[in-house]
């Protein structure tokens, strides 16, 4: 067996474990977000009101994925991925909440606003996720 095949054989199962774990954390975090979000994207999407809800939900999921991806590159084991991933999801969800509150005095309220407000909220969420990602880059 060539060294390349040997490295693949020993590394690929580990890649699968780490990817599945990260995706599970992303799915769990997205589920918590949908369940608790005051924007009620889940309810709106089921009701066919997809416009602004799809934007804020897409921003929320992407914003969770960015720090998780950076943390994955800096983690050496599945336990580290789990520990840091769960903490990052909670911090990111709290950041979303703070952003919603901070933008409201500026007249940006995704609960009652349209796509423009949703776009601003989405951008702010992604900006916060980039900062969080840099903080755990290792």
């Amino acid at each position: 067996m060539s060294p390349e095949v040997q490295a693949f054989a020993s590394g690929f199962p580990l890649v699968l474990v780490h990817v599945v774990l990260s995706l599970a954390i992303l799915a769990g975090g997205s589920g918590v977000y949908v369940a608790l979000s005051p924007l009620q994207e889940g309810v709106r999407l089921r009701a066919g009101d997809a416009g602004a809800a799809s934007l804020t939900l897409a921003g929320a999921i992407l914003g969770l994925a960015i720090p998780l991806a950076v943390s994955l590159t800096a983690s050496a084991s599945a336990i580290e991925i789990l520990l840091w991933g769960c903490c990052l999801v909670v911090l990111q969800l709290a950041a979303y909440r703070l952003i919603d509150v901070a933008l409201r005095p500026l007249g940006v309220d995704a609960r009652s606003g349209g796509r423009d407000a949703a776009l601003i909220v989405c951008g702010a969420r992604l900006a916060s996720s980039l900062i969080l990602a840099a903080a755990v880059a290792g």
Partner: protein, 293 residues
């Protein structure tokens, strides 16, 4: 978007309060689970306290130079002796671009050192040569490390005596970015050992700058790596494995298995005193860059 009333089976939870409670719980868990294997502050270098060992007579036989004692003075790191004939290992980035390198013998006195081997090696480990040397630390060659194994890093964080202890997390690949002599950017991938910091000497600075080049000692006092960098937000210390140190010695045309003095065991309760002893005998010394190239 128009407001929609909750339609779920459960009442809508106040999400902000939920996140705040979880974050507080995580902070509490992190602080309560943290190991506090801290060491007492290192004694001042010129302590005349009764009962302290008499500092060694000059270890170096070559010309000495006068150096500022200010810890924030010249660019500095840590080096350790691997041969009493005057061979030292340190992190390459500590001495990169240095026209004159010196090993500190006393707060104001240093012996000039030469960089041996190629200017750019495969790993971030450099070999230095002085005229005359200090008792050498043994390399733990060819012996496997265990996950969770404890390491000790005696050195000069922030240019002052200090040390940390850590536990092995595993292997990792670090990305080092540097500028080449022609002004280009160079990115180098380097396999390293990743250690979780478990304690440090009281008063050691937060980012541990200056500990680069310090030996990573196992519980038997043998060198298992060379400290390279710290990621304080991830609670980690990165070190080159001992194989990289052996390769650097071989690249400099030296024998990595030269006879050395016996290793002294270290543990969590004694590593502060053991580190002081290593600094007093100059087995672990501060390396400074007297002027950049």
């Amino acid at each position: 978007m128009t407001p929609i009333r909750p339609q779920g089976r459960f009442p809508h939870l106040p999400d902000g309060a939920v996140y705040a409670v979880v974050i507080l719980a995580l902070v509490f868990a992190a602080l309560s689970r943290r190991e506090h294997a801290d060491a007492p502050p290192a004694p001042p270098a010129l302590s005349r306290e009764e009962g302290r060992p008499l500092p060694a007579a000059g270890a170096f036989h070559g010309p000495l130079v006068k150096v500022s004692a200010d810890p924030a003075g010249p660019q500095s790191g840590t080096a350790f002796s691997v041969s009493p004939e005057g061979l030292w290992l340190t992190a390459r980035h500590v001495v990169a671009g240095c026209a004159r390198i010196a090993i500190m013998e006393a707060p104001h006195r240093a012996a000039e050192a030469q960089l041996l081997g190629p200017a750019a090696g495969a790993a971030d480990v450099a070999v230095l040569k002085t005229i005359g040397g200090a008792p050498a630390l043994p390399l733990a060659a060819g012996e496997g490390l265990r996950i969770g194994e404890r390491g000790f890093h005696p050195g000069f964080p922030g240019g002052r005596p200090g040390e940390t202890t850590s536990r092995l997390l595993g292997r990792q690949t670090l990305e080092f970015r540097a500028r080449t002599a022609t002004g280009g950017r160079l990115t180098r991938l380097e396999p390293v050992l990743s250690w979780a910091e478990a304690g440090r000497s009281v008063g050691a600075p937060g980012d541990l700058a200056g500990l680069s080049g310090a030996p990573v000692l196992d519980g038997r006092g043998r060198v298992v790596g060379v400290t390279l960098a710290e990621a304080p937000r991830r609670g980690r210390i990165y070190a080159a494995p001992v194989d990289a140190a052996e390769l650097a010695l071989r690249a400099a045309g030296l024998n990595a298995s030269a006879p050395v003095s016996a290793a002294h065991p270290l543990n969590v309760s004694s590593y502060g005193r053991a580190s002081d002893a290593l600094r007093e005998t100059l087995s672990v010394a501060r390396v400074v860059c007297l002027d950049g190239a």
